[in-house]
């Protein structure tokens, strides 16, 4: 693997490899000393041009548990504010001797552009605009597989603001590569303008779709990306598309719920539903570290 920019860089075999390596690192996390020397002497930089708490912390924790040094770059406190271009920023940071860059940006494609600008560094997409968030989809698959044993044959229902969701795009690619069938459930205005070529079906009635789902992936209504304008009111959104207590009762007993966070309780998910045992939200966060350890490990070629 040269870079991890999209789930398509991995393919089914690549995803499987990441998940297998992540198993080993999940075991490390259960040890009293949660650290291995695998990437000692290597340096991982997180370049976040868009704010994020959990993804950055997760990557940085993953790098530290592999004994890599971590450099944390935040656009808000940087020369970018003084007008420096991303390209110059990237070239400057790489010149300090980085081995991997984790890039997040509000614009789609920036990690791919960064991968063309770097000389030796490995680039990991930490989320780019509406495009992809590959490590999120990987940790979702890891978590679901942990509970359900196998992704192949599962029916995955992705609910909510798919139009503006990088998580949804990566999930569609990852789940379908692993053999799941994927259904999108959203108001028409929150679907992508075209799903030509997507291996998915679409439903417009959540009540009908829920009883068939093995996995329900809830997405946040991304008000900061303007998705609030795509539905008349939050109240109407919740009434039709929220996973309310009533709707949760339609789920199969073995169905699981995932959410990439941050959750907005009372909008896409009712507070008591978020606390059900089938909701894997905190487990996703825990597994996120192991999956990102696996990604960094595979990219930087550490030795187990």
């Amino acid at each position: 693997m040269t870079h991890l920019l999209s789930i398509t860089d991995l393919g089914a075999d690549g995803i499987d490899e990441v998940l297998r390596v992540a198993e080993a690192f999940a075991e490390v996390e259960r040890r009293p000393v949660r650290k291995v020397p695998t990437l000692r002497g290597r340096t991982v930089a997180t370049l976040f041009f868009e704010e994020s708490t959990r993804t950055r912390l997760s990557f940085e924790t993953a790098a530290k548990r592999l004994s890599a040094d971590v450099l944390s770059f935040s656009a808000a406190a940087s020369s970018v504010k003084k007008g420096e271009s991303i390209r110059d920023t990237v070239e400057t940071i790489e010149a300090m001797g980085m081995d991997a860059l984790v890039v997040r940006h509000a614009s789609a494609g920036v990690p791919m552009q960064v991968s063309r600008w770097v000389k030796e560094c490995k680039v990991v997409n930490g989320g780019d605009g509406w495009h992809e968030h590959p490590t999120q989809a990987l940790l979702d698959c890891f978590t679901v597989r942990q509970v359900r044993g196998e992704i192949d044959g599962l029916r995955v229902l992705i609910v909510g603001d798919i139009r503006h969701s990088r998580v949804a795009r990566s999930q569609v690619l990852a789940y379908s590569a692993l053999g799941a069938s994927v259904t999108l459930a959203a108001p028409g205005s929150l679907l992508p303008p075209s799903i030509e070529g997507w291996p998915v079906s679409v439903v417009h009635d959540l009540d009908e779709a829920l009883p068939d789902a093995d996995v329900v992936s809830l997405l946040r209504l991304q008000a900061e990306r303007g998705s609030g304008e795509f539905v008349p009111t939050l109240r109407e959104y919740t009434a039709d598309w929220g996973l309310t207590t009533r709707r949760a009762a339609l789920l199969r007993p073995d169905a699981v719920l995932t959410h990439p966070g941050p959750m907005i309780r009372g909008v896409e998910i009712a507070g008591d539903v978020a606390d059900l045992p089938q909701a894997l939200v905190t487990r996703q966060v825990t597994n996120g570290v192991a999956v990102r350890m696996a990604v960094l490990f595979l990219l930087l070629g550490g030795a187990l």
Binding site: S85, H105, M112, E196
Partner: protein, 425 residues
């Protein structure tokens, strides 16, 4: 200025094709015929295997001066034009300051006086291209401005556009619309469709263009004014214009070379070189535009040459300014999709008429005509090297492409400004 004799070529103009030498002196064509003698001191240009044609006329070039001289100047842009076979270009008014007054137009015309090609200017339709009130079109027309456009944006306010058309009709000038409904297009950075959805890049629906084309056809019908559509890019736009022409509405239309050969699939690299407005669209749109060239719906191919400095394009796709270079590659790109005579009609005499430049450009290559000519080697294959372009910018979408057909010589106002593919100054 010495006399010039072009030897051994085939003359192609709107009158047809014939083997003939062409002699030029004093800025005019002195003779067209077989085996012309070269008077003493005359410059003899080799036209063997070449086509001698009226110079090309670009209806749509962004020369960036004044305001963005780091991207292009009238000097560098006109050199690129000459190398591309153009004898005249219409400079778009979205400069800084915009060409919305006689003073601004005079500055550009003065800068253009020493340029390698004739630089005509288009004036803005509205003051500051803000779409709020009419620019002093009569004052600009008095300086010879024949084409008016707010290009870069369309006139959003239908009532204002109607008033502009009424006013333009009285002046006998042509309005040229950049068709884009800003409400429908807002936030979009590429064509809205399968690719934008997959790439997560906000899209612009074709309807943003078509809605304004439809409105403006209705306004042209209502007012009887002459209206030209810039850079049409969709199946629906071509259909609308085809029907309007059949009905007799006084509209003309252009397409840009890149819309004839590139699609939105090029954006999959997230390389902002491929960001342009209107955006690269689908195979179906490309096919419709090519059909429009053949059936006369599209009157001209205009470059929409839009230079941007490398640092301006080295940014995230959705933040990059739209636009790509075109002057040095347009002829070869058009030759890749249509035959030579039609290519010349689309690149020379038809746009010359729309631009009001037909008295000096695009006319038959005949004794007494203004000596604005290009000599094209239609068979030569060459590779596009961005570093080798005369433009000050490098944002060509054809880097590394092998194109067939290239300009060997260009003669503007009787001066050989390009000889053997090299600009003379």
């Amino acid at each position: 200025m010495s006399a010039i004799v072009i030897r051994g070529g085939e003359v192609v103009d709107r009158g047809g094709r014939r083997r003939a030498d062409v002699a030029v002196d004093d800025g005019i064509v002195k003779a067209v015929g077989p085996d012309l003698a070269a008077p003493g001191g005359a410059q003899v240009l080799d036209g063997a295997g070449c086509v001698v044609a009226p110079g090309l006329v670009d209806l749509h070039a962004h020369l960036r001066q004044p305001g963005k001289e780091e991207a292009e100047t009238i000097e560098t842009g006109s050199r690129a034009a000459a190398l591309g076979g153009y004898s005249a270009v219409v400079a778009m008014p979205n400069t800084d300051p915009p060409i919305d007054s006689a003073g601004a137009a005079r500055e550009v015309l003065a800068l253009g006086r020493d340029a390698l090609v004739e630089v005509a200017v288009a004036g803005a339709i509205t003051v500051g291209r803000r779409g709020e009130r009419l620019a002093p079109m009569a004052e600009l027309a008095a300086l010879g401005v024949r084409l008016f456009t707010d290009d870069g944006t369309g006139v959003q306010d239908g009532a204002l556009m109607r008033r502009a058309l009424d006013y333009a009709r009285g002046l006998g000038v042509v309005l040229a619309q950049h068709c884009e409904d800003e409400d429908l297009a807002r936030g979009g950075a590429m064509h809205e469709g399968a690719w934008s959805s997959r790439l997560g890049i906000p899209g612009v629906t074709s309807v943003a263009e078509e809605a304004m084309v439809a409105r403006d056809i209705a306004l042209a019908r209502l007012t009887g004014a002459r209206l030209h559509f810039l850079h049409l890019s969709t199946v629906g736009s071509v259909d609308l214009v085809r029907r309007a022409k059949a009905e007799g509405v006084a509209v003309t239309a252009e397409a840009a070379p890149h819309h004839l050969v590139l699609t939105d699939a090029a954006c999959a690299s997230y390389d902002p070189t491929f960001k342009v407005n209107p955006p690269l669209r689908t195979d179906a749109d490309v096919a419709a535009l090519r059909a429009g060239l053949v059936d006369g719906t599209i009157d001209a191919v205009a470059t929409d040459h839009a230079p941007h400095a490398p640092e301006a394009k080295d940014v995230p796709f959705d933040e990059a300014p739209p636009g790509m270079l075109g002057l040095e590659t347009a002829l070869a790109v058009v030759l890749s999709v249509t035959d030579l005579t039609r290519a010349l009609a689309l690149l020379s005499w038809q746009p010359a008429t729309i631009a009001g430049l037909a008295a000096r450009h695009g006319g038959p290559v005949a004794e007494g005509a203004a000596a604005n000519l290009c000599v094209i080697d239609p068979a030569v294959t060459w590779m596009v090297d961005p570093a080798g372009l005369a433009s000050r910018s490098r944002n060509t979408p054809y880097a590394g492409w092998k194109l067939t057909g290239r300009v060997r010589h260009t003669i503007v106002r009787g001066e050989a400004v390009v000889i053997d593919g090299e600009a003379r100054r």
